[in-house]
């Protein structure tokens, strides 16, 4: 597979897993399982960093004058990345709310 396509998939796979974990963390907190929720947030954050590294590599290349060819797949990967980033904030806030309710 071509380099860009593979890199896009690595981003989608890593940040997509992170996003799922953040949502699973909310679901655990909803059931009062706060230790599990915290563990999922941490695990998700590690995943997110992996995807972020792959993305940062592209940005650095572009900063060095090496243009990245545009593709819908890369845009989709960035979309997943942003969504995961936002979900972490929402998940942490919701877990705090569930804790206060519990």
């Amino acid at each position: 597979m071509e380099g860009m396509e593979l890199l896009s998939f690595q981003i989608i796979s890593a940040v997509g897993t992170a996003r799922s974990m953040y949502i699973e963390a909310i679901q655990e907190a909803k059931n009062g399982k706060f230790d599990e929720a915290e563990a999922l947030i941490k695990e998700g954050s590690d995943m997110f960093v992996q995807g972020h590294h792959a993305h940062a590599e592209l940005i650095q290349k572009e900063a060095c004058g090496e243009q990245t060819p545009f593709s819908l797949l890369l845009m989709h990967a960035e979309d997943q990345l942003m969504s995961a980033e936002a979900f972490k904030i929402i998940a942490e806030e919701l877990i705090a709310v569930y804790k206060r309710l519990g």
Binding site: M1, E5, L6, F9, Q10, I12, S13, A14, V15, G16, T17, R19, S20, M21, I23, E24, Q27, L72, L73, H76, Q80
Partner: protein, 100 residues
């Protein structure tokens, strides 16, 4: 002929995996029909499927989809296999889920 359904957010990223899986299945002589859909269509498209696989970005829906499709094998795609677009590894996961 086994029917495999892949689910992700929009049916976009998994549709690329479908091609890789088809190539891997053909190489092994494993006859199957593989399609990708958005996870929102799980209950409709899952009814006809022998196995349903979820992409890592919609993995949090696993229990939800299982509840919608009682008795069907519903699994999350291995994250590394997905990231590497490893069709062969995902076909192996399908065969295992089907007990082949």
């Amino acid at each position: 002929m086994k029917k495999i359904v892949l689910l992700c957010a929009a049916g976009m990223s998994t549709s690329l995996l479908v091609n890789k899986m088809k190539a891997a299945a053909a190489a092994e002589g494993f006859e199957c029909d593989i399609e990708a859909y958005p996870v929102a269509e799980a209950s409709r498209v899952g009814k006809e499927a022998d196995v349903i696989l979820l992409g890592p970005q919609v993995r949090y829906n696993l229990n939800n989809v299982k509840n919608q499709l009682p008795g069907k094998p519903v699994e999350a795609i291995d994250m590394v296999a997905y990231g590497m677009m490893d069709g062969k590894k995902v076909i192996a996961q399908v065969k295992k889920a089907l007990g082949l």
